[in-house]
């Protein structure tokens, strides 16, 4: 038990250090850009933790990041670099909206479940195609998933301007979903919907799937060394496609919760780049689904805070992108420096064998 605790501590201090460095860098950047950095951080803090209402809002922002973050994490574990969580999330939103505005006669709980299922299906489908192209034609999933993001974005643009358009609104957006499909708020006066709780459960389940089942064993084996996995009798293509399906479904479920719990209708910017931020979320958590819960909170905090920063001191909310980028670089560099140290320490006997 004690060993486990030190293990956890060791796995957490590097990301923490990276976050700390990133905050320092951000402070410096804000100052250099001529913004009052202290005020910026105060408004960042207040926007997220001042009271229960804003804290609920933070959790709300964290929810889509939680789902997309787990989606990216499981992909990374299986060496499918899913940059497509964005598109899968958007497709989840679109499918859930379609269900919500089509089956208006359905009882509430059933409608919610169907919306989530529709989101999962749409997301999985959006992940399946790049997965198939990767395994069958060895086309890099990086290019295809990104292209699918843009296609999804334009598709939603089309939906909210044409078939789903609510003409009573000035801006292009869809009809509002049936009211019984609105997810209830968990805490009064906050917009906290059940999505975050379901997301936490999903994180635990995916953790179990990855680390406590033979399927997870196969996913990780393929991720580390697909050739060895192949010769160990694992069907590499099937495993990769399953990984993409699960990954896409998770992102799609995130989209469904965003619609049913928060937005209640579809619009073009519904994602706000969650799927891209998810990459940072997953990497900060070292692709551990449980860690994703924590890191999605951090980035949710950043997301809600950056809007406040823009409102209060005028710095563009895109400042969050800079912070994300810096965090990724620090975490990636820190993680590798750890691996490297271990490798050089263990390498010698291997080296000695290999040289003659």
């Amino acid at each position: 038990m004690k060993e486990k605790m030190t293990g956890y501590l060791q796995s957490i201090w590097k990301p923490l250090l990276a976050v700390f460095f990133s905050i320092a860098c951000s402070w410096l950047l804000l100052t250099v850009f001529g913004y009052p950095a202290n005020d910026a951080f105060v408004s960042l803090w207040e926007a997220s933790f001042k009271n229960l209402r804003v804290f609920g809002n933070t959790l709300n922002k964290a929810c889509p990041l939680l789902f997309t973050g787990i989606a990216v994490a499981i992909g990374n574990r299986g060496s499918v670099f899913n940059i497509g969580a964005e598109g899968q999330f958007i497709m989840g939103c679109a499918a859930a909206t379609w269900v919500g505005i089509t089956f208006t006669g359905m009882p509430g709980p059933l409608l919610m479940v169907v919306m989530v299922l529709a989101g999962a299906l749409a997301g999985a489908a959006w992940g399946f195609v790049p997965g198939l192209l990767k395994t069958k034609f060895s086309i890099s999933e990086i290019i295809t998933t990104i292209m699918f993001n843009y296609i999804a974005l334009q598709l939603v643009g089309y939906l909210v301007r044409n078939p789903m358009r609510d003409l009573n609104q000035a801006e292009p957006q869809s009809y509002t979903i049936a009211e019984q499909g609105f997810m209830p708020y968990l805490i009064e006066k906050t917009k906290l919907h059940p999505g975050f709780v379901v997301g936490c459960i999903a994180a635990v389940l995916i953790y179990i799937l990855l680390f406590k089942t033979y399927f997870g064993y196969e996913v990780r084996a393929v991720g580390y060394n697909s050739t060895a996995a192949k010769y160990g009798g694992i069907n590499v293509s099937r495993t990769m496609i399953s990984t993409m399906l699960i990954s896409g479904a998770l992102a799609g479920i995130g989209g469904a919760f965003e619609v049913a719990g928060s937005a209640h209708y579809l619009y073009e910017k519904i994602s706000n780049g969650y799927g891209y931020t998810a990459i940072a979320v997953a990497i900060l958590a070292n692709n551990n689904p449980i860690g994703v819960i924590l890191s999605s909170l951090l980035f949710g905090f950043l997301a809600s805070g950056s809007t406040a920063m823009q409102r209060n001191i005028g710095v563009s909310s895109s400042f969050a992108d800079i912070v994300q980028g810096i965090i990724i670089i620090f975490v990636a560099v820190a993680a590798v420096s750890r691996v490297k140290k271990k490798r050089t320490a263990d390498k010698k006997p291997v080296l000695k064998e290999a040289k003659q």
Binding site: F33, G34, Y35, F81, I83, L133, F137, S138, I139, S140, I142, I143, T144, I146, M147, F148, Y150, I151, Q154, L155, G157, Y158, R161, N162, Y276, I279, A280, I283, G314, V315, S316, S318, F319, A320, D321, I322, V323, Q324, G325, I326, I328, I329, A332, V333, A335, V336, S337, K340, L351
Partner: protein
């Protein structure tokens, strides 16, 4: 006839940023660096070019600034990927976020009033080449572009020559293909990769600058709109060869031009569906190209470590 020549001219205009960025990426990838941060690097180039052109009122200085900004972004990538051996795809993602974030924040800071009005700068004028530009069809297609278009096209033989007929090119290929062999011949793998990265940054920055101060005359947040990613597809499609990259860029330029032509044609097709065209073409083109043999660097994405 007129429509055809303006379609062809648009094809070339739209192909150029993809071409220039993809040529840069080609050099970077053949040296073994898998930089997916093209999008962010191009954005930085676009913003730097725009702002310097705005303050100096000189588009050449703007271009220079754009190239240097691109170079800076790839330097960040290179240090993380080469020195610290961080996973290149991850760092590329971070570069894209940094590019998007920095340009948006600085744009708001420096041109806040401009956001709504759209501040414009003096951009590269199109050169009507005397005599040639009035030839029917060919004139508009080939001889009425701004100077960067011609520079971009001339860069195709230049990069071909660099890669195939100079010792620099063979060094780049060697460190991408078999870094250990290169090292054993006294070639410095790290220096070669840094150089390739920085050179690619110059070109990516130039491609971004083209978007801001040659193709248009202003900057918009996230104005690259995925062109950096499409440039990655162009390299795949061009099989890591300069001429192939030209062909690939023209295909995507054509897809973009088609999208514009359709939009202008006043057809009853929803705009968003037309805007999908380039992205769908990308997927289909990469799918069509995947069966053929390519010469991608075998050590791509793998950090080099001395024994």
């Amino acid at each position: 006839m007129d429509q055809l020549s303006s379609f062809l001219a648009a094809t070339i205009r739209m192909a150029i940023p993809l071409l220039i960025a993809a040529l840069g990426l080609l050099v970077s990838e053949r040296s073994g660096l898998m930089n997916i941060g093209v999008e962010g690097t191009m954005l930085s180039g676009a913003f730097a070019a725009f702002s310097v052109a705005y303050y100096t009122n000189n588009y050449w200085l703007g271009m220079l600034a754009g190239m240097l900004a691109g170079c800076f972004m790839t330097l960040v990538f290179a240090v993380a990927a080469i020195k610290f051996r961080a996973p290149q795809v991850v760092i590329g993602c971070a570069i894209n976020m940094l590019g998007s974030g920095f340009t948006a924040v600085l744009f708001r800071k420096m041109f806040f009033d401009a956001q709504t009005g759209g501040t414009q700068v003096k951009s590269f004028p199109s050169l009507q080449i005397p005599g040639l530009s009035s030839v029917p069809l060919l004139g508009e297609t080939f001889f009425s572009h701004n100077i960067i278009v011609y520079i971009g096209i001339l860069m195709v033989p230049a990069i071909w020559f660099l890669m195939n007929r100079t010792s620099i090119g063979t060094r780049i290929i060697a460190v991408g293909e078999h870094p250990k062999a290169a090292d054993s011949l006294g070639i410095n793998v790290f220096v070669t990769r840094y150089a390739a990265a920085l050179f690619s940054g110059l070109l990516m920055g130039m491609a971004g600058a083209y978007l801001a101060i040659a193709q248009s005359n202003t900057f918009q947040v996230d104005m690259t709109g995925g062109k950096g990613y499409i440039a990655m597809a162009v390299v795949v499609l061009g099989k890591w060869r300069a001429l192939g990259v030209l062909a690939g860029a023209l295909i995507f330029g054509g897809a973009n031009a088609l999208q514009m032509t359709l939009q202008n044609a006043g057809l009853n097709i929803p705009n968003n569906l037309i805007l999908m065209v380039p992205y769908i073409v990308t997927v289909l083109a990469v799918l069509a190209a995947c069966k053929q043999k390519a010469i991608d660097a075998s050590a791509k994405g793998v950090p080099y470590e001395k024994a």
